[in-house]
């Protein structure tokens, strides 16, 4: 009973602290609203279950992000047809920005463009991008993903360049 209470308490703490971030993350992995709702519920279920075995090997935040991203990346992997078209940050850097004669303005369009960029990424790059957007430091991104600090630093550098190019370019046409 005590064990169950600890698990419930940890889950309540995790959901309170990271619930909004998990919801944003689910949007980053699934565009369809119904499937996204299912994904978010799957994440919360996996998180609650996993917290029964929380052993303090990492911070609660790192644990939460790991569980959430693993569940979400598995979800993307199951959508096999969609995942064939996904690419890495490096490929997006080389691709020209979409040539839209009607230049996008406004927060809504910028958000749509950002989401489109995120959805084009394969799981490991998407994970780094989403954690970067949540303002996690590189060291924590490395802890969540298991990537080496060097690999994380390279990805972040490319993400910054990509975002600057895709979003700065639109602003200069406003």
């Amino acid at each position: 009973m005590q064990h169950e209470t600890d698990q419930d308490q940890r889950y309540a703490e995790a959901a309170a602290a990271h619930g909004p971030a998990l919801e944003r993350m689910a949007r980053g992995y699934e565009a369809d609203p119904d499937r996204r709702r299912d994904l978010l519920q799957e994440i919360h279920l996996a998180l609650w279950r996993s917290l029964a075995a929380f052993d303090g090997r990492c911070s609660l935040a790192t644990w939460v992000y790991r569980v959430a991203h693993n569940v979400a990346a598995s979800h993307v992997g199951r959508q096999k047809r969609l995942s064939r078209g996904l690419c890495g940050v490096e490929e997006l850097e080389r691709a020209p920005a979409p040539d839209d004669p009607e230049r996008e303005t406004g927060e809504r369009q910028a958000m749509d463009r950002l989401m489109g960029l995120v959805h084009a990424l394969r799981p490991i790059d998407r994970q780094v991008m989403l954690l970067f957007l949540e303002d996690l430091p590189a060291a924590e991104i490395s802890a969540v993903t298991g990537m080496s600090p060097g690999a994380v630093a390279t990805k972040i550098h490319r993400i910054k360049a990509l975002l600057a190019e895709r979003f700065h370019g639109a602003r200069s046409h406003d």
Partner: protein, 188 residues
Amino acid sequence: MTDDVKQLWQSQQTEGPALDLEDIRRRARRAQRVVALRNLISYASMLIVILGYGFYVLALDGVFVRLGCFLVVLGAFYCAISLSAQGGSRRAPAQAPADSYLQFHRRELERQRTFVLRSVRLMVLPITPGFAMLLIAAPIELQSWSWTDSLIVAGAFIGIVAVSLPLVRLRVNRLSRMLEELHRLGAP
């Protein structure tokens, strides 16, 4: 610049808690029932094969036909036990979902690769001796079964295996490439 994008991302409106604790417990129980049902269906399928060939052991004439059926039953038992053992090793430790992405997916890919590599040994080889004996003995001991019938069945079996093996090899190669990529990402 990127701070603006981060702010844009974090300013998204969120809907609030996806589930309460009671909902989560209910879903956890439902998920366990789904897994139990899936296992039950697998074992039921194996049981049907065992009962079917078990019936033939008793009902058919011919020593070697009966022996062939008995060997198929033994092979099916071995498949069931091996798959059950595979299922046990497939269950990740409770804290596995909280492994880093690389650890989690490396384990999943390795599990899939092992399963695919062993699939022929686990599912085809155990029943092959009994099946071969049946195909050879049936035309000799059973009036209703001809050599042509045995050749057709043997040809179909070999054809299915011949088509499956390259696909198995392709899948194993693809999984190995994915594992190498994960290994490169994790290397210091």
